[in-house]
């Protein structure tokens, strides 16, 4: 679609109805088969131009190939109680005390080069990760002991210990590759995979990818009859958030994954574009527990009462990210996991209560000095909080926190650092307070484990995996280790309840706002988007393999 000057106005208005307008693109991309038609354009800031590499085991490339080009065994829906949907495996079963996992591999699936998918390909893929540790992004071989074929179409995985929680990483996060292709590659770690051979609904190659745009075209021989219905998916590269937002507001894209400040005003010109921001994890204040003053639980509890989370959400995030609660359970996504009666015992789940904060500090022996700051033994409650200065929403949220804490006699000075300095200090534990977020998973357990498991911690000065505040408790570790041993929902719930209690009683981390998947969608040109009523996948284009599910659900408007 060339944008000649005199046609500029026409084409800009065309963007909204891209499906109807862009016949030129679909005729070149549709490979002349089936019913696939229309052009879907993604709008997501990538921060760089495309390198056009699609290696599904490489962290820089996985989000461009897993789900739509390469497919995993089973889809796990994070937003719908970890509901599983068969993908390349038709079924799976746990046995042997949750130490053995058996997949049955689908028949009749072909790679785009014509090779049939077999159980041997699945075994090969997992053993490839075993031989090349750097490809094993989620460290599944830290729990696996063997993967082998059984019969013609089954794959049996043996684990060193019960590993139910690893199902998400094994079944949902690993794309299956063609053993005949990959066995010829001399160095899979450095393999760019510019012409990926997958089983998925879309194809991409070095000829359809440029530094400015990845063009995915429908796989005419996809194993689901009649899918995909969208002929071409364009994924332009956006270096900055602003350019991507402008692009979306001009009606040039149909699938946005952007943070847009004051979105309802910004998208006023595009009434067909709706948005939904499902919460998936927390943005929290990490408290360095190695700090002598902050290791006092009374100080942490006072802070949890003193912070007005609603205000932080509405001022920092324009209300687009909801407020969190002290249990760390993300609501409404994981509401069923929240033990409300237990949380109620802790000041109504640490509802905003500055008076209570002050009384806790007084009871703990702190006295307010003439400067309005509480102190004990000559040590004032005066701290610094590190933050990513590049995120204006976080900077605003932290300013709310600083004001709230100041009101109860705790002095906090924000340090808005450059991204690299901030990350370095946060991971290495070189901070007093730190504002940041982690990744979560298909149930609240994943984020609680990231926060509370001592194995994710590290000495101050060494980067920790995720336990930035350096929390360590043998009782909590025991709970965390028990969870993967059970598939029983009641037992899982019981363990998570106890982990919630750790959050409430010990306050090692203070969740402030919930982090969300950013998702804007054009209802005029496509139907079948994930919605709050039908949360069949995480909706942002950067959610893999979920975006492949979204592509399979979409239908161009007639």
């Amino acid at each position: 679609m060339r944008r000649l000057i005199k046609y500029g106005v026409v084409l800009a208005s065309c963007g909204v109805l891209a499906a109807a307008c862009s016949s030129s693109s679909s005729s070149s991309g549709g490979k002349g088969t089936s019913t696939a038609s229309g052009v879907l354009t993604i709008d997501n800031e990538s921060g760089g131009n495309w390198t056009c590499d699609f290696n599904p085991f490489n962290l820089s490339d996985i989000s461009f190939s897993l789900g739509n080009v390469y497919e995993p065994l089973v889809f796990v829906d994070t937003l719908n109680d970890a509901k599983t949907t068969p993908w390349l495996a038709t079924s799976y079963a746990w046995s042997n005390g949750n130490k053995t996992l058996t997949f049955t591999i689908r028949n009749g699936v072909k790679f785009t080069n014509g090779d049939p998918l077999t159980a041997a390909d699945v075994v090969y893929t997992f053993n490839l990760l075993r031989q090349n540790k750097t490809l094993d992004i989620n460290a599944v071989w830290s729990v696996l002991s063997s993967v082998s074929q059984q019969g013609s179409d089954q794959v049996v995985m043996q684990f060193k210990a019960p590993a139910v929680t690893y199902f998400y990483y094994i079944a949902d996060q690993i794309g299956i590759v063609d053993s005949k292709v990959w066995s010829k590659i001399s160095d899979p770690v450095k393999y760019p995979d510019t012409n990926p051979i997958g089983t998925g609904p879309y194809e991409v190659s070095s000829t359809t990818c440029t530094p400015q745009n990845i063009k995915y075209t429908a796989n005419p021989n996809y194993w689901v009859k009649g899918e995909p219905k969208v002929g071409t998916v364009n994924y332009p590269a956006f270096l900055t958030n602003d350019t991507a937002n402008t692009f979306l507001s001009a009606g040039n894209a149909q699938w946005g994954s952007q943070f847009i400040p004051d979105i309802s005003t910004f998208l006023k010109a595009q009434p067909a574009i709706k948005w939904w921001f499902p919460p998936v994890a927390n943005v929290s204040m990490f408290i360095n527990l190695k700090n002598p003053l902050l290791s006092n639980v009374a100080v942490r509890q006072a802070m949890a009462y003193a912070i007005d989370r609603q205000k932080a959400a509405s001022i920092g995030e324009f209300g687009e990210e909801p407020a969190s609660n002290q249990t760390g359970i993300v609501t409404p996504t994981f509401s069923s996991w929240l033990d409300s009666s237990q949380a109620a015992q802790f000041g109504n789940n640490y509802a905003y209560n500055p008076k209570k904060a002050i009384s806790i500090l007084k009871n703990a022996g702190f006295t307010m000095g003439s400067n309005g700051i509480f102190a004990k033994n000559g040590q004032p409650l005066s701290f610094t909080i590190i933050n990513n200065g590049g995120f204006s929403d976080w900077v605003n949220a932290v300013n709310v926190i600083v004001a709230d804490l100041k009101a109860v006699g705790i002095q906090v000075t924000p340090q808005d650092l450059s991204q690299t300095t901030y990350q370095d200090k946060l991971y290495a534990g070189q901070f007093q307070l730190g504002y940041g977020s982690e990744t979560g998973g298909p149930s609240p357990y994943f984020e609680l484990r990231q926060w509370l498991y001592s194995a994710n911690s590290a000495p101050i000065g060494t980067p920790a995996g995720s336990n930035f505040e350096r929390y360590a408790s043998t009782a909590t570790d025991k709970l965390i280790n028990e969870y993967p041993a059970t598939t029983n929902p009641a037992t899982q719930q019981q363990i998570v309840d106890q982990l919630e209690k750790v959050m409430l009683a010990d306050v090692p981390v203070i969740p402030v706002t919930e982090s969300v998947d950013w998702f804007q969608y054009d209802t005029a040109s496509f139907s079948g988007w994930p919605t709050p009523g039908d949360p069949y996948a995480q909706p942002a284009a950067y959610n893999y393999p979920d975006w492949g599910q979204v592509m399979l659900h979409l239908t161009p408007a007639k």
């Binding site: 000057i5 500029g8 540790k133 364009n234 370095d424 990744t439 990231q450």
Partner: protein
Amino acid sequence: MRFVLRRLGFFLLTLWAALTLNFALPRLMPGNPAVAMIAKFKGGVSPQALHTLEVQFGVNTRHSVISQYFSYLKDVATGNFGTSLSEYPASVGHIIMQAIFWTLGLVGLTTVLAFIFGTLIGIVGAWRRGGVLDSVMPPVFVITSVVPYFWLGLVLILIFGVKLHWLPYINSYSYTDTPGFTLSFIWDVIQHAILPAFTLLITTIGTWILTMRNTMITTLADDYVRMARAKGLSSRRIMFDYAARNAILPNLTGFAMSLGFVLGGAILVEYVFNYQGVGFWLLAAVNNDDYPLMQALFLLITVAVLVAILLSDIATAILDPRTRDAG
């Protein structure tokens, strides 16, 4: 000839110093590329990936700084800049090659144009001092030259892109186009270059006008110009061959310098216009602790500036014989 050799020796010394600095600077910066990579992912990566990436990127490797330094020098000499960390496993050379053409085209061309137009306006302005051109152009462009160019870029985007829909304002060509040497593609590239080029042009031209005009005025007062007039030479000949040839020297040095800096890209213009160029990669490399990419880009800029200065020294020597003895 001795002059050129002496210059060349000095050039090599500076180059070595720059190379060494270039080696040291990224290592003095805070950050860990593995952490930066994990943080780039808004979800889905387990904490275990941190260690995997550290191994992959060679963070905290056993190699001593000295051995790193020598292998760095060797790599520079052989043109091997290694693998990018933020875009692993893409090679640094590949990334730069993809971007450099666009930067040379956009920033290079505008620098040349700004120099030519600016110098011409300066010459003519000084020649007809107090004339219409002289009273309008220099003040206007001096004002535009202090306008921050990213801001001007945003204003132009708003007016000509978003409101009027006259010109494209993102990317270096329509993202759905396939690059190739076709007329339609070249036309597309030109259209996409108009707004960013215009932004750069009107914010840089003022400096050239001002320096050229001021040196020109001083030169015009010299005896040999009066002599030329007395001889009855044509105005054009006096203006260009007598006055401008001597007055252009400071501008020429400045031009050489700015040509060298072209390779650094115009970071903010590339940022605002989503223009794929070297400047943007430089920023991305710094943000992601991508040492190999950073080093290669810094090196490129340093060498380009040094070469440009060397060439301008030689050019000055040709234009002005007096400098040959002084050098």
